[in-house]
């Protein structure tokens, strides 16, 4: 008997949720079209993967055979792109200020003379660190060029005294470092940005839309009807209303995963099932989080504001660019309040590093926690639903 009632009410509120979702074009727009377009935008924007050919300038005050050789080598490098040769330091500095170039390589007077007479020649590279990612690329390029030039000089000297090439190598670089970059040996920048930013962007839509659909009930005063259809049971009302959205969001999420892993070839080093299962959990966790925000402030505008705030700040709190151990502890701790953090950690473990599922067990559990928690607190929304007050 009781089971039948529950089933009846659930079916009724589910139907109501379906009709509501289909009736407003806004829902489909913000659940399917815009998220897909947005995720496509982010991934397509960065599809080149690695930053190459940073526009730089050179100042050659020496104008010697050595400096010409140096510049020729630099021109052949893919990290930097010599846009212009400036006649002095001041001109190059002005070009940086105007934004024409992002840095320049400065060869002082008498470079060749000083090199041959061992009087401590110094070249400098001026790098504009306001543009962070290109700056590190420039540094790498400039540093390699200087090393190669040195190698050229020393090699010539050592060969004339008859040293074998192996010994020359060992003299040039006594310690050789082998870098192992599991999962991303190409240092593809898109791997970092897309695996973190794209799901976070998607999460923003889930948060905003859930907040919007709950808020609309409260605002329009239809929340009594909403509750009545579910037999005055808030949990049934919430699940009935949100499950149609869960289904749509999950399908969109799977499509995004397909785009990420199959079309844009982001690393997927685990059983695809691990990520596929994570998606509906992620969707529900975000819906749960939005409901939780409404439990905290059962008001359309405040609830939406909180969801927007947390959704937007997740991009920073969740430590995609500055690692969490480098943040203030309280900032890193706030990151753990949003579902995105757990999805990020598990996708790093599973998709990027491909380690055992065992190590990610807690992250999956946390996502489940986000679904359960708001159901416990749903009495707060119920109270508001029975007595809705709209504050503009």
């Amino acid at each position: 008997m009781l089971q039948g009632m529950v089933k009846f009410y659930f079916v009724e509120s589910f139907k109501r949720g379906m009709v509501q979702m289909v009736r407003r074009p806004m829902y489909i727009l913000m659940m399917v079209i815009i998220p897909l377009l947005g995720c496509f935008t982010l991934m397509d924007l960065m599809k080149a993967g690695t930053i190459r050919r940073v526009p730089v300038g050179v100042v050659d005050m020496d104008d010697s055979e050595l400096s010409h050789r140096l510049l020729r080598t630099m021109d052949a490098f893919q990290q930097v792109n010599i846009k212009h040769q400036y006649k002095d330091f001041k001109e190059a500095k002005l070009a940086v200020q105007c934004g024409d170039i992002l840095g320049f390589y400065y060869i002082p007077e008498d470079l060749e003379k000083r090199t041959l007479s061992a009087r401590g020649p110094v070249v400098s590279f001026y790098i504009n660190y306001s543009y962070f990612a290109p700056a590190s690329m420039q540094y790498k390029g400039f540093k390699t060029i200087s090393l190669l030039t040195n190698a050229g000089i020393v090699q010539t000297t050592l060969r004339t005294v008859g040293l074998p090439s192996q010994a020359i190598m060992a003299t040039m670089q006594p310690y050789n470092t082998h870098q192992h970059m599991p999962a991303n040996p190409w240092l593809n920048y898109n791997y970092y940005l897309s695996t973190s930013f794209v799901p976070c962007f998607f999460a923003l839509f889930i948060l905003l839309l859930t907040a919007f659909s709950l808020g609309t009930e409260l605002k329009s005063g239809l929340c009594r009807q909403w509750l009545a259809v579910a037999g005055d049971n808030m949990v049934l009302a919430l699940t009935g209303k949100l499950i149609p959205q869960t289904v749509v969001f999950t399908s969109v999420g799977w499509f995004i995963q397909w785009l990420m892993y199959c079309v844009y070839d982001l690393p997927l080093n685990c059983n695809p099932l691990h990520m596929l299962v994570a998606m509906p959990m992620f969707v529900m966790a975000n819906q749960g989080f939005a409901v939780l925000m409404f439990c905290v402030t059962p008001n359309f505008r405040f609830g939406s504001t909180l969801c927007t705030l947390m959704g937007m700040l997740s991009f920073s709190f969740c430590a995609f660019s500055l690692p969490e151990e480098a943040m203030y502890p309280w900032v890193a701790a706030i990151g753990y309040l949003v579902p995105m953090k757990y999805y990020f950690l598990l996708s790093v473990d599973q998709a990027v590093n491909g380690i055992d599922l065992y190590y990610s067990r807690l992250y999956y559990a946390a996502l489940v926690g986000f679904v359960v928690l708001p159901l416990v607190l749903s009495w707060r929304i119920k109270r508001e639903c029975l007595n809705p007050i709209y504050v503009p």
């Binding site: 407003r24 815009i34 935008t41 000083r114 306001s130 082998h178 990027v352």
Partner: protein, 409 residues
């Protein structure tokens, strides 16, 4: 003409009152501008990573390998949290996130070096966050180069008789001299905060007006009757005045509070912000056409921040974007504002050196004015008139529409 100015003045004054009376809009215009810059700055305020936890697997156990580990530990970038017995154990620690990198020193490391061959070291880094890899690389490169340098001069001396000296290279960071993340990223974000708060606020004002029209048979009792251009320009002037304080606070005082590069003076920043605010105001008045109720601005406008951040070129440089995305970026005021602002604030450029972004902003003012005018004249006003006609025939039709749309009836 006099009539036009009078109308514009009335619109300006009315918009002022609407802004200040609406709590939601005040929060967007002032609250967001006050809180977001501080929050973002606090998140990134540590600027750099220090003492990233790593683990060493020392199979060599010689005086040289211990020295290498000791020197690594002494770098600001990394910190050795443990010595693992073998790679298996190190990997386990990495999976448990106790460390984010492993340095492996093989058994014959010191033998190779002392024999005059190359010594090999292997480095494994966690690749989930770019910063960690960079830190790890920086530490190991600096240490091996410094140790190698000593060895090199010993080995080279007998051959070269001091005849050749290696070219030394020196890095001079400019603009963001501390090479910190916050100083680089935040200067791009600050103008964006202003833009987004303004778009949200303008959208919400319009949503409120639409809701009033629904309740009042298509008329907005708070609207000042005025011609289209007077309405658009009057509102813009109001936004300009309202935003004086947020602009000064966000663009001038926030960098001061968090010690970001501050090479621009207040006058130049404000001069750059004038066309920016005009352009954003017109942009908001163009985009507001899609807003049908107050709260849908969250849904419709909030996500654009993410797209705009990327188009600005802060995470991915603009010159690397495809022609299409580059052009899309050109159409957004924040792209020019942020890049111009960074050149001034960080590079110390004067307004005369950033003529291009500055002129582009003025161009956008023109383009968005035409768009805002067209939207108001050919979309919004005909729509209100049709509502008024509909409501004249059936008084409740507009409100009923609301219920049908939201509920199940």
């Amino acid at each position: 003409m006099r009539q036009w100015f009078l109308e514009m003045y009335r619109v300006w004054w009315r918009e002022f009152r609407l802004v200040l009376r609406d709590e939601g809009v005040v929060i967007f215009f002032f609250g967001v501008c006050a809180v977001y810059p501080i929050l973002y700055s606090l998140i990134y305020n540590t600027e750099v990573e220090r003492d990233e936890p790593i683990v060493v697997v020392d199979d060599c156990r010689s005086q040289l390998s211990r020295r290498l580990a000791r020197n690594l530990d002494a770098t600001p970038e990394v910190k050795i949290v443990s010595y693992a017995a073998n790679m298996q154990e190190a990997r386990e620690l990495m999976h448990r996130k106790k460390c984010y990198g492993v340095v492996y020193i093989p058994r014959d490391f010191d033998m190779d070096v002392n024999r005059g061959e190359q010594g090999h070291v292997s480095v494994y880094s966690d690749m989930s966050v770019m910063f960690r890899y960079k830190n790890m690389l920086m530490a190991i490169t600096n240490v091996t180069q410094a140790m190698g340098g000593e060895l090199q001069s010993q080995r080279l001396a007998p051959f070269t008789y001091g005849g050749v000296e290696l070219i030394e290279s020196r890095q001079v960071p400019i603009g963001n001299t501390g090479m910190g993340l916050a100083s680089a990223v935040l200067l791009f974000i600050l103008p964006l905060v202003i833009q987004q708060s303004m778009l949200l606020g303008i959208g919400m004002l319009h949503g409120g007006s639409i809701e009033r029209r629904r309740r009042n048979r298509g008329y907005d009792p708070m609207e000042e009757p005025a011609c289209v251009s007077a309405t658009v320009i009057g509102k813009m002037l109001c936004h300009q005045i309202v935003y004086v304080a947020p602009v000064v606070y966000v663009l001038h005082f926030t960098p001061m509070m968090f010690d970001f590069p501050q090479n621009s003076n207040l006058l130049h920043s404000v001069a750059l912000a004038v066309p920016f605010i005009i352009a954003v105001s017109f942009m908001g008045q163009t985009l507001q056409a899609v807003v049908n109720e107050r709260e849908s601005v969250f849904l419709l406008f909030a996500f654009t921040s993410v797209i705009f951040v990327f188009l600005v070129g802060v995470s991915w440089p603009r010159y690397e974007m495809s022609r299409f995305w580059y052009t899309v970026g050109d159409c957004v005021p924040s792209t020019w504002m942020s890049n111009g602002y960074v050149l001034m604030q960080s590079g110390g450029a004067t307004l005369s050196q950033i003529v291009h972004p500055y002129c582009m902003l003025w161009l956008q003012c023109g383009v968005f004015f035409v768009l805002a005018y067209a939207v108001e004249r050919f979309v919004s006003r005909p729509r209100y008139r049709s509502w008024q006609r509909k409501a004249a025939a059936d008084a409740d039709s507009l409100q009923r529409f609301d219920i049908i749309k939201n509920g199940v009836g």
